[in-house]
């Protein structure tokens, strides 16, 4: 469900932070999903304490390409656990961006207008496919694909989790820094099992994530 926020609010960050240049790709996400970090070495107690996702029956996003492509179709819960795992692995504090933080990195140096096809992968130019990350120009902060490609989970206490930034199946006109997409049942419509997976969204090839790290 698409909602539009207030475009007049000025946004800033409270403190300096690191933000991933690209949407998180399968190169990294696979290590978490398939426990590739535990194959040859024993995990630390902190890492071992983090739950790992179930094996997905099918990943809807992965028909488009794998290494170098944005990881997709993980649930909001899954995205949060991934950040927790990455923190345990590195001893640093990784997390999803908050909505104000996300809007800041999107709007910085840019008018709060809809995305252009020069900027991001959307319905008009995606050919119905996710694209490799960083195949569109950097924004003023040096980040890529903030708008388009996968919609990006942001951290919130809202009852219904949501993504920002629009995605490759969304019309450019709808994709702006202030728009957000609340999860709807069709994101997980065709998971045929009961209970449905808490880790994977069977139909949401258009959902992914970007992560932040605090010093």
């Amino acid at each position: 469900m698409l909602q539009l926020g207030d475009q007049t609010v000025s946004r800033s960050l409270d403190k300096a932070m690191w933000i991933s240049k690209t949407e998180v790709t399968w190169d990294l996400f696979d290590i978490f999903v398939y426990g590739l970090d535990t194959k040859s070495t024993s995990p630390s107690p902190e890492v071992a304490a983090v739950a790992r996702p179930s094996k997905p029956y099918v990943l809807p996003g992965r028909v488009f390409g794998h290494l170098g492509f944005p990881a997709s179709a993980m649930s909001y819960y899954h995205a949060g656990i991934f950040a927790k795992w990455l923190s345990a692995k590195t001893g640093k504090k990784f997390r999803l961006l908050t909505e104000p933080e996300w809007e800041y990195i999107c709007i910085k140096g840019r008018k709060p207008t809809s995305v252009t096809t020069e900027e991001g992968w959307v319905w008009e130019n995606s050919d119905d496919k996710l694209h490799k990350v960083a195949t569109k120009p950097e924004n003023e902060l040096g980040l890529v694909d903030v708008l388009g490609n996968v919609g990006e989970w942001v951290q919130s206490d809202a009852e219904i989790p949501f993504t920002k930034g629009g995605h490759f199946l969304e019309d450019a006109a709808n994709v702006s820094c202030t728009a957000k997409w609340l999860q709807t049942p069709d994101w997980n419509m065709t998971d045929p099992q009961l209970p449905k997976s808490r880790w994977w969204l069977s139909d949401a090839s258009y959902v992914g994530l970007r992560i932040a790290m605090e010093e």
Binding site: M1, L2, D30, V33, Y34, L36, S54, K55, P56, Y57, V58, L59, P60, R62, V63, G65, H66, L67, W123, D128, H167, L169, E170, D171, N174, T184, P185, D186, W187, M189, T190, D191, P192, Q193, L194, P195, K196, D203, Y206
Partner: protein
Amino acid sequence: MNNTRRDFLKTSAVATAGLMVSGHFAWANVAETLKVGIIGCGGRGTGAARDCVTGADGITIWAMGDLFEDRLDASYAQLKQHIGDKLQVAEARKFTGFDAYQKVLATGVDVVILAAPPGFRPAHFEAAVNAGKHVFMEKPVAVDPTGIRKILAAAEVSVQKKLCVVAGTQRRHDPKYIEAIQRIHNGAIGEVVTGQVYWNQGGLWKYDRKPGMSDMEWQIRNWLYFTWTSGDHIVEQHIHNIDVANWVMKGHPVKAVGMGGRQVRVDPAYGHIFDHFAIEFEYENGTKILSMCRQQDGTASNVSEFFYGTKGTSNAKDSIRGAQPWRYKGTGPDVNPYINEHTNLIKAIRSGNLLNEAKQVAESNLTAIMGREAAYTGALITWDDLLQANQDLAPAQLVFGDLPVAPVPHPGITKINRPAYGHFFETKP
């Protein structure tokens, strides 16, 4: 399909309610409640029961059967939470054990959902048809030619008895696939020249053996990894894409050659099945379709179909390119095919317009078995030979006890008509 996706987004909060008043619920008066029995109460059987009561009014889940009490109890708890009063399974209509299916069939149900591991399906389907029940059965419906013949024979009886049968090849109930393939059949890409179908992904769940557990119990709980229970992943999972190939081609292939192996997933915890296959299917008119499936962690995934014609190409789902281009617009199915298949089944039962997919799914199922046998044996496998083959992978008797794991197939040595257990090798004189 008249709605644009933007309309869909606007209305998505009420999408479910929207469907409830759309054409899928056309009957105004539900003459009588249909009673449904579940045979096989795992995640899919439980999900199918939910989908059935979601897809039609006037449905009651009336009886449940599973080999294992813990699976039945977990399923009951899930359904109670999700479908509430539509679950009317009294304690006396909960059955466990190898004969639970017969007891479910004797409770006066009108329809049964068959969702036990695939190796059990032929016996369950045959019994359901003999008992005069309408059937929803998950794919695959058999794991060997003996099972396929049983399904085909029961399918004929089910047609004579005017029973409705829908199979879990849900792409057949997905409006996107239906429209795309209708366009292909109407000539949108000309004559189909070739195609590819894929189910490449990482590994799936496994069930870890508990201390003291019998071979039989472990194999059935860990059923994905034994040919006698699942048919191997080319049959269990890739059947979906192979079914699309047969749908587009309006028939089944007549021969297959291929290769495959067990390269990465070699731990005995994963039974004896392969982890990759690549098969070339040849149809009656000489058209060849390439099929590929893999379950290896960390490898590139692809679950799709693609067809090339003399006048264009199509993914059989949402895109046609060439002389008559077409592109589906949307982020997902407007109609959930997993629910729609139940809607269509119940509608057919109530209207008396026979809908029976048993033969169709059996043919796609045997196609998948043909691919498996081409890889297992290394031989060129023909449809006619395979259909008549004696292969019967089931254990001699179903009791909790010892059950050796058959060796991993060995192309060049393994034969189609092999013993189910003991060895795969034909003794040479």
